[in-house]
Amino acid sequence: MSTIPSSLPGRRPMQVATAWERLRTNHSWLAAWFMLPAAAFLILFLAYPLFLGVWMSFTDERIGRGGVFVGLENYEWLWGDSVFWLSVFNTLLYTVVASAIKFVVGLYLALLLNRHMPFKAMIRAAVLVPFIVPTVLSAIAFWWIYDAQFSIISWSLTKMGLIHENINFLGDPNMARGSVIFANIWRGVPFVAITLLAGLQTVSPSLYEAATLDGATSWQRFRYITYPLLTPIIAVVMTFSVLFTFTDFQLIWALTRGGPVNSTHLMATLSYQRGILSGRLGEGAAIATAMIPFLCAAIAISWFGMQRRKWQQGSDND
């Protein structure tokens, strides 16, 4: 574009390209024009609400009326609020335990499903069921399973004579935590399993053949072929899994509402309880905003730790 003769004197004005014309025809800008609709969409529906939420967390806005800027007041309050810290602890515990187990079980399931077996397609489809069922429905099913009086588990164990009083699934803090984590795992495993299965199927069988000829054990084949080739998929699927688990809401809300005595309150549910139900949007937004650093850290770990392996650029994985 160095030939644009705009600086030459004596030309007719028609040929003087205005900035607008130059922008309109410039090829580098063309790309920008094409991206504009998508960018507008993202800004309008993702960036704007996000920034609005962050802004709200610096105000004392309540439902039904605007707020004034109060600086870090909401955060200072939360800093000294034991229920908030309990929810942070619960969220981290919930995410770490549930994600780790989902990964192990999901990978195991994926390896199993990758084998040749009868009714392969049907079994693979069946594995997806917990993922397909709407969360609220499965939550209600679990709610019955965990019911203080009518739990099927308590009932069966009592009939078998193994216990004499009902198990207090959701009434004891640690039991409740374990119960909601189990429900989350049940729901989340299929996503991990099926995605990893898709990854497994892209691994070329010739690699396994070569390894077998070299006398590799099945552990070695997994460790030195499957696992490295699966890493990018693992990074993606675990990022998503961690994000979904960290921001889980429906399951907790349907099962415990954060109880007993707040011991299963996650940051998302606490944010909803305080922001929407209790009407204090500013404080609710502050709790939600406080989730962002954790989420960024989770993304950073998986992307910088696993995604940027050298082998992805074609060199050795050392």
């Binding site: 439902i63 229920v83 203080a148 009434g171 005595v261 305080r274 929407i276």
Partner: protein, 441 residues
Amino acid sequence: MSDFTPDRRTLLKGSALTLAAAATMSAEQLLGYAKAWAADAPWKPEKGAKINLMRWKRFVEAEDVAFMKIVDAFQKATGCTITVSNESYDDIQPKASVAANTGQGLDMVWGLYSLPHLLGNKVTDMADVANYLGGKYGGWTKSAEDYCKVGNKWVGVPIATSGALFNYRIAACEKAGFKEFPKDTAGMLEMFKGLQKNGTPGGMALGHASGDANTWMYWALWTFGGNMVDEKDKVVINSPETAASLEYIKQLYATFIPGTVSWNDSSNNKAFLAGQLYCTINGISIYVAAKKENPAIAEDMNHAYLPIGPYGKPTEMHLAYPMLIFNFTKYPQACKAFTAFMLEAPQFDPWIEAAQGYLSHFLNAYDKNPIWTADPKTTPYRDVAKRARTPAGLGKLGENAAAAIADFILVDMFANYCTGREDLKGSIAGAERQLKRIYRS
């Protein structure tokens, strides 16, 4: 409806009240009445008014049918269109708030508790409707004014309230030594101890159950003279009375059926109907369901007011359902006319009968409705509006009181102490800290 109509006939046999006569009105008569009413009413609906009304989702079908009949008659008589949407309890407030914030979508909301106060500056003053109805129907109960009156303004009109009273099994309580349901808190504790000893335990929700847990925890605090805030909305929860109440509830909790900390609003209904729970605080829903599905339990159960503690006066809290009109509606007259129409005897009497005791009135004249005397087991629910306080207690009902109840501050305080998560001081201090934040000026 099919199993209800004969009931109503038997109700009517014994009563020659003019009020009850209205209940027999056919659809045509109702329409005729509605037309005549519309002609005389002080509110003239805007021409072609289209009202979007959101209401709480019914728990008795008959009530909803009766409500839609009222809507239908009003539509035919005035030419307005009313679109009714039903939302579950938890969704009412967020949706109403969105409408309030955006200024569109809904014209009126039939919500819960303090909703009109939560949307304070977005609602229309309904003093004209309230005064008209109060004048015609024997005045409003004090709790009605507490709920909706601010100065001389009415931010909403309380349509009805659903009482939370004791539901108990007669035989089990007699066996525990109480021929009559205890009237004071000491007797109540004795009875619960007896119930537990006999293997027929009682129990109330201590989980995040918006209805069941809040109603009885507020009562528990008040009946010992404790309060969250005083008349000037100053936080006064840290008091010996609160401590006494906590100690009492902890003793009571020790007698409960296991698992009440995880209970939600439906848990006690299920356990009672399954014959595992013998005494609880609830609406009339257990009794209504028992009559249908388990007559033996219905026969053996009864209702009682909540006992009175050291404070010496009734301090119950019941779920109220106020109707509010947004100030951005294009049809305020139509909305007001509908509210008034609904509370007129020819509409309200059959409607409250259809609700089978779930809902009680705030207008004194409706004490005479035969539903409250036809079955003596429903009679206690007649008086709930007279024995009720609002969630604000002594303070001003508004967004602060609404925030405190939605955040389960009292429930968590009691649950913290009962389950031993916190000691007495710690649980009170936790609640105090949160209340001070909510009530900060």
